[in-house]
């Protein structure tokens, strides 16, 4: 029997508001423990939450970008459970009236495009962080409430994802969209993006879903992909062996690259959701939504299409360049200097990206758009060859220097003086009689060798086209 996976993702995105969702505390990451707290986020007796409008606005922005319907009426609910990092013993979340409903993200795996449905996006507050003492003799746990009350947008996908690659692409696109909107840092290692996976297997080609398993505790997109792959294998083995899949939560163990079962007791939670009486329902009028929509930045898909149309880029180039907003901005800044768009794209995709860990950080790269543009102009006007330009770029990336000065300092200006090149050619011909004979006897390959020798002699500075022409003339 053949099985196919049915996968849905629940992604928590930390919204990058200046202050927490229900109080005025800062949301800065990495502050000293419990310094970013106040009576409200510590859940002291008698305090009340007040909704941060910036969180609401950013959630709406995210919803619009995910093609969701923004609810003109939504409300907050309490999700009740006891845990030391949850100071009120309830989390303020949205249960049956989320701020955004429906929507989709378009993904591409290989050449196939697919829409992954979004069920909902809702706002909620983050919990604190429990830290358990690593000293086994000291049975102590600590709680840091700095993160308590940081706004989260929980984005729930439809079970439309059919492979680990699709899950990866979905996360990648979701992250890109959030970063374009500048509503979240989406840093999985810092916890500003968290992803839980729901996965089941079903007999291929049938409709009914199998028993669903939840996987948590992945701290990178790669881990999500690996966890899904592991789980597909595990469940396939189990089902093929006639076992039943248990409804459970499993945790990803990054060291052993496998999932393991959490105690099933955790499953028995009854969160006793009920409407949050301390917060009035959120009523939003269409004008508010329209105003936010009109201020949305251009999104990755739109920008990709525009790059193809406006700059004549191949779709692949456009996709790579627009995968990060800073990179797309960088590209456009180079093109704006009058550089050939395809040339700019080649240089960025080959030379620049090879030297950059994360395209998001391109703003901090030593070669800024204006400098890259002047380098490309030096090629265009024949000052240096494309090959020399690579050396110059290397130097620019290392030192942040200006291309023209590097060319000048290092004497890299292309030799276009015919007599100077003739001189080198004569020297090379005199020193390589065998190759000259080979060429004359019809061995075309020998020309390449001779060109190489001339270029070498000129330390790459001779204009390659001129070298070719002069050689041909002298050999014929």
């Amino acid at each position: 029997m053949e099985f196919e996976p049915v996968i849905g993702l629940e992604v928590h995105v930390q919204l990058n508001t200046a202050t927490k969702i229900f109080c005025g505390c800062s949301t800065r990451f990495k502050a000293d423990a419990n310094t970013q707290t106040c009576p409200v986020c510590l859940g002291l007796p008698g305090v009340l939450p007040v909704l941060n409008e910036e969180a609401l606005r950013k959630a709406i922005m995210a919803g619009l970008a995910l093609n969701s319907t923004i609810a003109t009426y939504s409300k907050f609910d309490r999700k009740n459970y006891f845990y030391p990092d949850l100071p009120k013993a309830y989390q303020i979340s949205q249960y049956d009236k989320p701020i955004c409903l429906g929507g989709f993200i378009e993904i591409k795996t290989g050449d196939a495009a697919k829409k992954i449905g979004i069920t909902r996006l809702h706002l909620e507050e983050d919990a604190g962080k429990s830290i358990h003492s690593e000293d086994p003799g000291k049975k102590v746990s600590y709680v840091n409430f700095n993160r308590t009350g940081v706004p989260l947008a929980e984005i729930v996908s439809e079970p439309d994802i059919a492979s680990s690659d699709e899950a990866y692409a979905y996360l990648q696109n979701l992250k890109t969209i959030m970063k374009y909107l500048e509503v979240s840092d989406c840093n999985m290692e810092e916890g500003s993006l968290r992803c839980d996976v729901n996965i089941s297997l079903r007999e291929k080609g049938t409709r009914p879903f199998g028993q669903k398993v939840e996987i948590k505790n992945m701290n990178s997109f790669r881990a999500v992909k690996m966890a899904i792959e592991f789980e597909i294998q595990r469940q396939t083995r189990a089902l093929s062996g006639g076992e039943r899949i248990l409804q459970e939560t499993r945790l990803w163990d990054a060291n052993r690259s496998e999932t393991f079962s959490m105690r099933s007791k955790e499953e028995a939670h009854d969160y006793r959701y009920f409407p949050e009486p301390d917060l009035p329902p959120v009523m939003i009028d269409q004008a508010y939504i329209d105003a936010i929509r009109s201020r949305l930045p251009e999104l990755p898909a739109q920008r990709q299409a525009r790059f193809v149309a406006e700059y004549g880029l191949p779709p692949y180039d456009a996709e790579v360049l627009t995968a990060s907003r800073p990179m797309a901005d960088y590209y456009e800044a180079v093109v704006k200097e009058g550089v050939n768009p395809k040339k700019a794209s080649n240089w960025i995709m080959v030379e620049l990206m090879a030297r950059l860990d994360d395209p998001e950080n391109v703003q901090a790269f030593n070669v800024q758009p204006l400098q890259l543009a002047s380098l490309l102009r030096l090629i265009d006007d024949g000052t240096i060859s494309g090959k020399i330009a690579k050396t110059v770029f290397e130097e620019m990336a290392r030192t942040g220097g200006d291309p023209a000065s590097i060319v000048k300092e290092k004497g890299l200006v292309q030799v276009t003086d015919t007599s100077a090149i003739e001189e080198v050619v004569d020297r090379v011909l005199a020193g390589n009689p065998q190759s000259v004979a080979d060429f004359r006897s019809g061995k075309g390959k020998a020309l390449g060798f001779l060109v190489g020798q001339v270029m070498k002699e000129s330390r790459g500075k001779a204009n390659p086209q001129m070298v070719n022409e002069i050689l041909m003339k002298k050999l014929s």
């Binding site: 009576p39 510590l42 859940g43 002291l44 007796p45 008698g46 305090v47 009340l48 939450p49 007040v50 909704l51 309490r78 009740n80 006891f82 030391p84 100071p87 009120k88 013993a89 309830y90 709680v143 009854d270 006793r272 959701y273 009920f274 009486p277 301390d278 917060l279 009035p280």
Partner: protein
């Protein structure tokens, strides 16, 4: 004797220089200290702090830099309103030593106006009760008969005002917790419209029902204090900013042409003496120009189940934060996390609080939510509709506050259901979010006070205060013999 004076009279004495804030404060503190062992009105007396505040007020007066016209007047505050630096226990063992690091908005406003805090008054634990008997610190006693309850949950505030241990006090009212003890102790107590006073810093019992209000020995004084604490608050999203139009100088006590509804449902099962006293006042209001007419609030019978489902559901969640982790009581010698939760909450909470937490947890549980909590919300909507229909026809609704006068300590505490049912005449105002006031309407044969309740439409505090003032004129104040 300064303690016999109203806030209005004390203001005159301060202004004329006949008394200083320090003198007034000291007299109240002395009387409170001497009566408290018998009446248990205060959980915490703020002796030193109050005298310091009074001295500061007198200094301001000397410099001509008064914070407000009320600068230097003392009052008492219910112990579920957070007073920064001053212990706030909620009448609970779990908060027995809790000193809040911040101020409730209402307290902040009082301080900003120069009021002096005499102390924190006794109350049913987390405001859950109608007698002050569920207080961790022991019951408060009715000054008219110390074998009887003063009512609750703001029993301490009512006792303090009735026994002149404070000229006025703040209370909170979730289902009658201001109006019922005011009735039992023969003082004025007003619960304003939901949203009129910020709840920020009021330790929550049932968030959608809780509202802070005032106690005083006169309608003017109750209005004065309410006027100081009223107003929208950016820290309370459920607060509503409406101008205060009921300052004592604005109240006329004129009921000429006022249409008063008398709901038959509110006179059923009411003791004859209470009923007769209220009916007599209604006649006197008619004589003063009001027009009374019978009305029906026909969903009143659902108020008790609706109220106890909603209030306990909210309470079960509101009180979950008392877990021994960050503040408050923590059980000693615990082994693991769950053990810490169980022991702390079992030892820290009293019986009635635990009963309500269990009730509320049950009604929110999956499988029961629709049948209980959701149904209660629908019932609440119907009760609100009753009032909307009534207020389309009348300006105010007059009823008794309680079915009987103060009962004996211990009489009902072992029968929670009977205790719950005794709230029938006050809880609907909380469910509908409308203002209600209790004003003395004489005594029964045993000399125990009877309260008359006036309810008004949302933000119609001025109407019910005017009506209460008219009642006050023909009733006169009651003074216990303590």
């Amino acid at each position: 004797m300064l303690t016999a004076k109203t806030l209005t009279e004390l203001t005159t004495l301060l202004d004329s220089g006949e008394a200083s804030s320090a003198q007034i404060t000291k007299e109240f503190l002395d009387r409170a200290a001497s009566l408290n062992p018998r009446l248990n009105a205060y959980i915490t007396l703020n002796g030193e702090g109050a005298l310091k505040e009074a001295a500061a007020s007198d200094a301001r007066r000397k410099k001509g830099a008064l914070l407000s016209r009320h600068d230097g007047l003392p009052l008492a505050i219910k112990d579920n309103i957070c007073t920064g630096g001053l212990r706030t226990t909620c009448g609970s063992g779990i908060l027995r030593d809790f000193v809040p690091p911040y101020d409730a908005t209402s307290y902040e406003k009082l301080k900003a106006a120069g009021f002096i805090t005499l102390g924190k008054t006794n109350m049913d634990e987390f405001a859950m009760g109608s007698t002050t008997e569920t207080s961790f610190f022991g019951p408060a006693k009715n000054p008219f008969d110390t074998t009887r309850v003063p009512g609750g949950s703001s029993g301490g505030s009512a006792v303090a005002v009735a026994a002149a241990m404070a000229p006025a006090a703040l209370g909170s009212d979730t289902g009658g917790s201001i109006r019922q003890p005011a009735a039992f102790c023969g003082v004025v107590g007003i619960k304003p419209t939901y949203g009129r006073v910020s709840r920020y810093g009021l330790v929550a019992f049932a968030s959608s029902l809780d509202q802070i209000g005032s106690f005083a020995r006169s309608v003017d004084d109750a209005a004065l204090v309410l006027g100081v604490i009223a107003g929208g608050d950016r820290r309370d999203a459920t607060s509503i900013d409406r101008p205060v139009d009921f300052r004592p100088s604005e109240l006329t006590g004129d009921v000429e042409g006022m249409r008063i509804g008398v709901p038959e449902e509110y006179f059923q099962g009411v003791a004859d003496e209470v009923k007769d006293a209220v009916l007599e006042k209604l006649k006197q209001l008619e004589a003063a120009g009001a027009r009374t007419e019978p009305i029906s609030l026909r969903r009143t019978e659902y108020a008790i189940p609706v109220y106890y489902l909603i209030a306990t559901a909210e309470a079960s969640s509101n009180l979950a934060r008392y877990d021994g982790i960050r503040y408050g009581y923590r059980a000693p010698d615990v082994k693991a996390l769950e053990d810490l939760y169980r022991k702390t909450r079992n030892e820290g909470f009293g019986k009635e609080v635990k009963r309500r937490i269990i009730l509320g947890t049950f009604s929110l549980s999956s499988g029961y939510y629709d049948a209980y909590y959701l149904k209660a919300l629908k019932g609440r909507t119907l009760i609100i509709r009753d009032f909307q229909e009534a207020f389309a026809k009348v300006d105010a609704i007059v009823t008794p506050v309680t079915t009987t006068t103060a009962f004996r300590i211990g009489e009902k505490i072992s029968n929670p259901l009977e205790m719950y049912v005794s709230d029938i005449l006050t809880i609907s105002a909380n469910l509908a979010g409308i203002p209600g006031i209790s004003v003395p309407a004489g005594t029964d044969r045993a000399g125990l006070p009877i309260g008359l309740q006036i309810m008004g439409n949302h933000f119609q505090e001025r109407k019910i205060l005017d009506c209460a003032k008219a009642v006050e004129r023909v009733s006169g104040p009651l003074t216990p013999a303590v």
